[in-house]
Structure formats: C-alpha cells, structure tokens
C-alpha cells in the first residue's frame, strides 16, 4: 500500500480538471493503456467467437428449415446458409452448447464492460474523422458497441422472462447477432494484430507505457490499484457471475449455488416430478378437464389415416424407457430423467409407415398460448429409439406441469420442441 503522494505525479494532483472529454487530459485513470485494453480485447475475441458459434448452433437445433412452426425468422435468407439436420447424438448436445452460450455470455459481461470503459476516451476524440477510412471505422464502432450491448441485454432479459424488448426475442437476438458480428469481424481484423503486438511488447504492465498512445492518460491521477490488480478484479467479477450461474445446468445440490439466476436454487417440489419446469400448465392455459381419461384422446394422423387413442390404449402399446435431459434455450438444464412411453417410430408404424421409413412429424399441444404450442420434428429425430411420447417420468405418471397425459421427449432437442400436453401428431414429409 502506498501512503501519501506518489513520486512523480504529485505535481498534477489536485489541479483543475479540463472540462471537455475530447481533451486527453480530461481522462485521469492511470489504468487505461494499450496493455489493459489488449488483454480484455483478446479475451473477448475468443469468448464472443464461442458465443456466436454456439448461438448459430442453437438456431440450427430448432430445425427452422423443417417447418414454419419451428422458424421464428422466416425471412432469414442467406443467414441460414449453414443450417443442417440437428442430430440426436449425444443426447446432452444441446444441454452443452446452450449451457456454454448462456453461462459464458453472463460470465463475459464484466470483461465487456471493462473493455468499453478502457476505450471510452476514444468516443470523444476530435476531429471526428481524419479520413474516409477512419470515419467508416467510427460508424462501424457504433454497430459494434450498440450491437454488443443489444445482444447481451436482450439475452439477459430473456433469461429472466422479461420480454420488454421491441419484438420477439428470436429475430431480435438472431439478426442483432449478425449485425454485431459483421462489425466485430471488421474490428478484429483491424485491431487484433495491434493487440497481439501490444501483448508481446508490453508483457510487464510496469513497463513505461507508450505515452503517445491515445489510451494513456497524459495527466493521470495517482493509482489506487495496479493494472494487473484491476485485471484481477475484472476476472473476479466474471468468477462471481460464473459461480452464481453455472449451477443452473446441474441438479441439486449444485443448482443451489445459482442463487441470483432463474432456475437456480431449490428444485420445484420433491418426488419424481420435482425437476425443472419451463412453463406450468397454468401458465399456458391448460384446462385440466381436457386431460382426464374420459376426455383426452391423442389424434395420430398420416397416410390418410386417423387414429384416436385414449391413454389406456397407449399404455397397451409396447412401452420403452430412455434417460434424457431437458435443456432450455434460456441456458438451464436438468440431468437425465427416466422417461417411459411409446416410441415415436412405433406411432408412425400405427398409421402405416414400415420400419425404418418413419417420416417427420408435426406435434400439436392442448396449450392455448405459447409460441411453441406446435412443433415439428425431423425424421432422424422420429426414428431415434429414444424418442418417446412419454407417459411417465421417473417411474410415475407425468405431473400436470410436465405435460400429463403425454409429452414428447427427444434426445438433444431444445426444450420447447419437447411438446407437452400433446393432442395431435401428424406424420408425413414436412
């Protein structure tokens, strides 16, 4: 700890501060400098690349090209160029990719804020542009900063179910990501070489900083913390967020550590149905009278045939078991639950599709509202022996909130495609 004035800088301490932020002397923090910005920049380069890729992967996991009911962004055009049939193996695939997407995103927020802080003097640099190239770069920075904050904000709000953003989350977060990424790539190409050079040459932060660098305060206040210490604090903030978030991808007791995030803390009740619920029966307007043994019938359609099956009739079909997780786009997931029910491909066989020829299926729910009350599954998902119309979870009848009388469970599919309270299944090429 240093007490009293620090040698060499006391001359400037206490002097009147320049009024205009466009004056370099306005910025007093001794922490700003090429080394600090470069370290944060390189961390974000890696981190945001992973966020972008896992985000694109999540979009593909919905199989948007299969059916309009899966596609929240029908006018995507070329931006869906990479889409592929989402696999069913390994069954924890979406749990992993989406857990990484959301947990890493939350963890990177302190790094993003510190990075923006470290370069904020540049926002006020005058003249506004030295050349056409420089002017374009500054416009691009608006897309970069606005895009980053837009993506992180919509993501954090969506995780909390606070849908105050202007539109549906899916198009905003997807198209916003592309706008942001366009600016991000340009920024990376322009700046990464310099950042790497800075890291190589300024290995020790105590080295005399290049005073001609526009980030270095020409008239710094005495330091209260070293650059390395400040970096440690940014890391500490990330660690704090990680420690209070990551648990929501696991069951109790780890889930209890996720104290400030949705779907952290204790499980919803005990017993076989005491695992995480995305939307309760009450939330989506399920009338329990429609789900009783007398009233509920499953319509199975395909090849011009229609079957009406009661739950008792379904129970007489061959029942199979599968241990599969639930993983939500919001980033939380459960470990494997033990499901028991009728294989989707057996239901396809009931309407005349021989073994190995089961097609896609459109699943409709009793739900009154919710964007995914209809969902389409691709033939590879239907044919997987672990894909079930589940009637039981963990050895008991499904609870109302987990989709009684019957729900879909498909390995590696995003949670919302595992339709609950199934009313109708239409097999055929979609």
């Amino acid at each position: 700890m240093v007490r009293g004035p620090v040698r060499g800088v006391s001359r400037s301490y206490g002097r009147g501060m320049p009024r205009s932020p466009s004056s370099p002397a306005f910025w007093r923090s001794p922490l700003r400098g090429p080394w600090f910005t470069s370290v944060l920049g390189v961390v974000l380069l890696g981190g945001i690349t992973v966020l972008f890729v896992t985000g694109l992967v999540s979009y593909a996991a919905y199989n948007p090209n299969l059916s309009p009911v899966n596609d929240m962004t029908p006018d995507k055009g070329l931006l869906g160029f990479y889409l592929f049939s989402w696999p069913t193996n390994p069954s924890w695939l979406y749990r992993l990719t989406q857990g990484v997407h959301v947990t890493l995103g939350i963890t990177l927020i302190p790094v993003l804020l510190a990075k923006l802080w470290s370069v904020v003097p540049k926002l006020f640099t005058l003249p506004p542009a030295r050349s056409l190239a420089h002017a374009l770069e500054r416009i691009s920075l608006l897309l970069l900063v606005g895009g980053a904050l837009f993506e992180f904000t919509t993501g954090v709000l969506n995780v909390q179910l606070d849908y105050i953003f202007p539109g549906s989350f899916y198009p905003l977060h997807f198209y916003g990501a592309w706008v942001f990424f366009a600016a991000f790539v340009a920024h990376a190409v322009l700046r990464v070489p310099m950042a790497l050079r800075n890291l190589r040459h300024l290995r020790d932060e105590d080295q005399r900083p290049r005073t001609d660098d526009e980030l270095v305060a020409p008239d710094p206040a005495p330091p209260t913390v070293s650059r390395r210490g400040a970096l440690g604090v940014v890391g500490g903030g990330s660690l704090l967020l990680f420690a209070t978030t990551a648990g929501r991808s696991f069951d109790a007791p780890l889930r209890e550590t996720a104290v400030l995030v949705p779907h952290g803390g204790p499980e919803p009740g005990g017993g076989p149905g005491g695992f995480q619920i995305n939307k309760t029966a009450e939330a989506v307007g399920i009338d329990m009278r429609e789900t009783t043994g007398e009233t509920w019938r499953l319509l199975v359609e395909g090849r011009g045939r229609t079957l009406r099956l009661s739950r008792d009739e379904l129970l007489k079909l061959p029942l199979h078991s599968a241990a599969l997780p639930i993983a939500c786009v919001e980033g939380w997931s459960t470990s494997d639950q033990w499901w028991r029910g009728v294989r989707l491909r057996d239901l396809a066989a009931l309407v005349g599709y021989e073994e190995g020829t089961a097609p896609d299926v459109l699943v409709e729910s009793l739900q009154r509202h919710g964007a995914f009350r209809h969902a389409a599954l691709r033939y590879n998902q239907v044919r997987d022996p672990r894909s079930l119309l589940a009637l039981f979870a963990n050895g008991e009848d499904l609870t109302p909130d987990h989709g009684y009388p019957a729900r879909i469970i498909v390995p590696a599919a995003p949670g919302v495609l595992n339709t609950k309270w199934v009313a109708r299944m239409t097999f055929g090429e979609l």
């Binding site: 055009g77 923006l116 837009f150 179910l161 202007p166 005073t211």
Partner: protein
C-alpha cells in the same frame, strides 16, 4: 514489491498529435483502401441483417440498439466514474485514499449484479416467474443483499488483515532498528 508495481513513471508531456497527413489542401483524405474495402464488406453484411432486424418495430429496435450504446457511454460510465471519483476524493480527504479499492470492488460487483438481475431482484417479475417455472420469485432481493453484505464484509476483513500485518511488520522493523 508493491511499491514498485504501483510506481508511476515520470511522464513527459506526450505527443498527442498524429503526423500531419501530406495532402493537397481541400482534398479529403481517403485513408487505407484496404480498410475501406473491409468496412464496406462489414456494412454490407450488417445491412443485410439490419433490414431484417428492423423489419418489425423499426423505431423501437433502432432506439434499443443506439440507445444501449448512448446510455452506456453517456450515462452509465459517467455515473460510475463519478461515484468512484467521489469515493476516492472522500477517502483522500481523510488521508485514506488507498482504501478506495476496498470500497470500489464490493460496490462494483454488487451494482453489477443489481443491474443484470434487476427484473428479478426488484420483484417485478416475481408473479410471472412463479407462474412460468413453478419456482418462488421472491427471495432474489434478500439473496442479493446477502451477497452484497458478504462482499463488503470480505473486503473489510481483507483491509483489517492488511492493516494488522503492516502495523506488525512496521513494529518489528522498528524494534529491529532499535
């Protein structure tokens, strides 16, 4: 050791102006053509996605997009930088400027958690959250306050520990000298 890390080099008045570009008067500078090409490609992609982003409530989305940057740079940064400066000045006035870090970091972490999870902590989402997930939407405020207390408590404990150590080491060095 720490003294060495914190020492500032003596700074000469820096050269802040960039080399003057040699170009005929009145003719605007272009800059690097490669950079212009790169940024043009970037804008083309951003434009392609941007028209889709703005297809719905274009004004609302543009407001959020630009507003996020403006709010951050012109409100949030001045706000926390001002608060930080006030803390440093306040502690400096009582001769304890080096204690700033022990206030800054717990405060920054606590404020960050509040900012990120405000919909839950404020309780405005409590009913909606309970209805959707079947989990209690209460208790986020209490847990945030608890985390805040732990952060400040931990920071204070660290400060006390360091003060204790430095007083002991200065006492022992005094007794060694005598």
């Amino acid at each position: 050791m720490r003294r060495r890390v914190l020492r500032r080099p003596v700074l000469r008045r820096p050269v802040l102006r960039r080399p003057v570009l040699r170009r005929p008067l009145g003719k605007p500078a272009l800059g690097s053509p490669l950079q212009i090409l790169l940024l043009a490609c970037s804008f083309a992609l951003a434009g392609y996605a941007g028209v889709r982003l703005l297809a719905g409530d274009w004004f609302g989305v543009a407001l959020w997009f630009v507003g996020a940057a403006v709010l951050h740079d012109l409100v949030l940064v001045p706000l926390y930088a001002g608060a930080d400066r006030a803390v440093a000045r306040g502690l400096g006035a009582v001769g304890r400027r080096e204690w700033t870090v022990y206030v800054r970091f717990p405060a920054a972490f606590s404020a960050l958690l509040l900012l990120m999870w405000f919909p839950l902590i404020s309780g405005q989402m409590a009913e909606h959250y309970r209805l959707a997930s079947g989990l209690s939407g209460d208790g986020f405020l209490a847990r945030w306050l608890l985390i805040t207390a732990v952060l400040f408590g931990g920071s204070a404990a660290l400060l006390v520990l360091r003060l204790f150590r430095s007083s002991r080491s200065s006492r022992s060095s005094r007794s060694a000298r005598s």
